[in-house]
Point group: C2
Chain length 104, copies 2
Amino acid sequence: MIHEVAAIQIKPEAGILFERAFLRAVPLFERAKGCRFIRLERSVEDPLRYLIVIGWDMIEDHVSGFRSSEDYGRWRDLVGDLFAAPPLVDHTEVIVAYSLKDIG
Amino acid sequence: MIHEVAAIQIKPEAGILFERAFLRAVPLFERAKGCRFIRLERSVEDPLRYLIVIGWDMIEDHVSGFRSSEDYGRWRDLVGDLFAAPPLVDHTEVIVAYSLKDIG
């Protein structure tokens, strides 16, 4: 699995709108081929900065699949106007992962 | 829980060294107060770019706890020389999280 990690700066006072729009967009990802999870994280240091992390089976599911789908247009329609700048998108693969202190 | 998200650019050809050093550093986090998980992710686009994501019970467990501990010095001793630039560190809280297609 590949993680799409998108760093997004939104416009001032758009926080609640952006979070609501993200929730409305969940079904777009739910039906996207190869999409395994989605997560919205908000920065503690700057509440106008968000991370969207999306798990895809393969990078192609995001880059050539979702991005060329009609749902990508719907996604941009929902959230695009709230972006203060183009998102910075990276793809990562997990190299090491440990859960600690799950017991006790 | 808070996520510490550190974006790290490492020196050319330091990849294997960095990943080995990260593995050796796992016990430092394992015994750190409030540390719930650690994850090392490598960028697909640039294999010299990594994300370290660490789950902390509270932001203080990282900022005033771990960073002022002797283990922080040990962590920097293990990996600091491999950094090409100071890490960019953010803290986030999860706003929305969905796991999709776990069934079937």
